[in-house]
């Protein structure tokens, strides 16, 4: 009997060598124990979560013209691997049209304590003609608390562009938070039909003051400034568009 038990124990050890804690199999149904072990492992560090965040959900006044802007992202996954999506765009209320609208679907992998590497696809619904891009980027928390999201894009037309976004948070009080934000866009070449010139193409800067009613719900006000640079600015002038704009914004930051 003792030999049999030892044999059983050895066999079960061999069968489950990846987590050789099987002493309980001598007292309880080994199949039940194995189920319980699997469940315990899964619920002790192996869980999956779903995150959705509308970082900016706002109304902008742009010299009398109203613009709705959204910038949202979210993920499904565990600590290391995540499926990540991002979407942003602008809708011009007066013209009743989308100025920009894009979605990204990315595989994200934690590569350092504070950064994720992200690869995937981006599809621009507008402007027309629409483009699809391959994306590679990093997102995370840089030293000194800068939230950074940097990505390079290669479109199906072969154009190479890049964007870098950085945000910072200043706590005026525990719930009143001032958030400066900047976004730079670059292009490796002119893309005339989209009005993009090579080099640094646009600079966006903004400042938003939010109040966290709850952590997940925070209304805000602020301003956003936009400037087209270099050839991009020239293309805009040719089209009779302005090259810079200053808007007041009011919006909501939400996450779940």
């Amino acid at each position: 009997m003792k030999y049999l038990l030892t044999l059983c124990a050895l066999l079960s050890l061999a069968a489950t060598s990846v987590h050789a804690q099987t002493a309980a199999d001598a007292y309880y149904d080994p199949a039940e124990m194995e189920k319980a072990r699997t469940a315990l492992r899964q619920e002790t560090g192996g869980q999956t979560f779903t995150f959705v965040q509308a970082d900016r959900l706002e109304y902008q006044t742009n010299e009398g013209e109203g613009v709705l802007l959204w910038d949202a992202q979210g993920w499904i996954g565990g600590d290391i691997n995540k499926f990540w999506f991002k979407t942003e765009g602008e809708y011009f209320l007066d013209a009743d049209e989308f100025e920009e609208a894009e979605v990204q679907a990315l595989y994200s992998r934690a590569i350092s304590p504070f950064f994720d590497l992200q690869v995937g696809l981006r599809h621009d619904i507008t402007p027309n003609p629409s483009r699809t891009h391959a994306v590679i980027g990093i997102q995370g928390l840089a030293p000194y608390w800068f939230e950074v999201d940097a990505a390079a894009f290669v479109s199906d037309e072969g154009e190479v562009t890049a964007r870098i976004e950085a945000e910072y948070e200043l706590l005026l009080t525990q719930r009143l938070i001032l958030q400066p934000r900047t976004e730079l866009s670059f292009a490796a070449q002119d893309v005339e039909e989209l009005g993009i010139g090579s080099g640094l193409s646009t600079v966006e800067a903004g400042m938003r003051l939010r109040y966290e009613i709850k952590r997940e719900i925070a209304p805000y006000i602020g301003f956003a400034w936009n400037r087209k640079i270099g050839d991009t600015a020239d293309f805009a002038r040719l089209e009779g568009e302005t090259v810079d704009s200053l808007s007041f914004v009011v919006g909501l930051r939400l996450w779940y």
Partner: protein, 609 residues
Amino acid sequence: MLTRRKLLGTTAAFGAGVAVQALLPAWARSGVHNNVKGLRALSGTNFDLIIDKTTVMIDGRRGHAITVNGQLPAPLLRFREGDEVTMRVTNNLEEDTSIHWHGLLVPFQMDGVPGVTFPGIKPGETFTYRFPLKQAGTYWYHSHSGLQEQSGHYGPIIIEPKDADPVAYDREYVVVLSDWTFEHPHRLFAKLKKMSETYNFQQRTIGDFFREVREEGLGATLNDRLMWGKMRMSPTDISDVTGATYTYLVNGHGPKDNWTALFTPGERVRLRFINAAAMTIFNVRIPGLPMTVVQADGLNVQPVEIDEFQIGVAETYDVIIHPQADRAFTLMCETIDRSGYARATLAPRPGMEAEIPPLRPRPLLTMKDMGMAHDMTTHGDMTTHGDMSGQDAMDHSGMDHSGMDHSNMGHSGMNHAAMGHDTMAQGGTMQKHNHPTGVGVDSTAMMPVNRLHEPGLGLEDVPHRALTYADLKSLDPNPDHRTPEREIEIHLTGNMERYMWSFDGVKFSEVTEPILFYKDERLRMTLVNDTMMSHPIHLHGMFFDVVNGEHHHKPRKHTIIVKPGEKLSVDITADAVGDWAFHCHLLYHMHAGMMQVVSVREKTREKAQ
């Protein structure tokens, strides 16, 4: 003993079956509102425990709890040392449940950890626990399934000593401290995973910056901000979950409910403190009344008089108070981050109240908490490194140096390279990190130091006596005096930003091998805290003999707080064959992966393989 207990009406000597007494026991009687069904003590040797969902009232607000016999906290179980007890636990929930007997030395298949020692208790199933009681003292029990512990599934245990109690007292109360949230625990955990600072509403603001510039100067303030900013860590990161969501309870009563314990002036009152919180470390004091600690984690210690003590999650302390005045006292249990408090009143008559002291300012973490040990001003003892360590560093006045046996330090059989003096010394050498430091590890302590002589985060500068682990000496000589044959070092690791927690950089879901102990070996476990948080570390099935400078009177504990940047050692006699859970007792740290299994095996069998 018996008369005393009869006086209190806590037990009746029923034979078999459940002894449910008609009246509330003294320890659970409150001045005002009671929880729905009140709290009852069960005693005897046979117990029926029913796990169910119950609606409870906390500070006048309705909440949903997971309870034992409809009570929050669960019923007080009164056992007697030497008895064999039987608990029939019925699960009326829609999910699995379990009961773990915290601190009790039970056969491992009775330890109640699903996936480690048994399969768990399925819905509708009744599981029978049966084990002999090999010890006496204050303990507790709680669910080891999911996050049920957060929802109220915990209760006190008192085991009466077989022989005379060395502690004399006229009256006793159990004080179960806990944290309650009206949020669903799974939602709470998910929020931490998505935004780890969700509950920290005590961060440093612009106002703090300017105040500090005025006080410390611009250069010093900027340096400090840059140093923390570079590491992407916050010195205010003291509790993950705070008063922003928690109501802190004494015996199931919120601060407004004001649980009240009665005494007659001149009586010696024994308070049995149990920290049954999910995530909250408390600082406990009774302004105007000193406390004499007589027991820690269920085992008697040499009495030590103090004014405040820090109690980690899962720890227990028994204290004696001796109020002479005919007045009320506030039992103030402030959280370690000072975002809230649990409170009770000790009074000669019901309805009396004493002043509630204001919450003190929250402490800030320092360089020392990062394991950098650069805070030389408080570490003059760096110079004494190379002496016999530990003892020097502990600056322990009442300590009998003559009785110390240095051979215990492992000069004979132990590996000096691994073991070195710095294990106990202040200051010391650079720490080696032989563990993975992947995405789940945001810091490693370069120069961790022993902090057993410190009273705990935020109590360093209080103007009264605060208990330290170095103050604790077991009353009885330690049962095992052997020199440890082997040392294992375990690092407490984490990444606050990602809310990942682990041992040695590997969370439980990724662990492939248990930690191996060999039957009857004496070993030293050295814990190195690489994180910025205090972690109450708990091993099932065996006690830690805390290597605090005492020789044959090391305090023996089932749970020990390891402070940020600390390196401490405990000695263990591996006399309990089986698989045992080993984890941080902060519930969400364990849930995130700060857990391992210690497997105690026969050495011969292991060799044969």
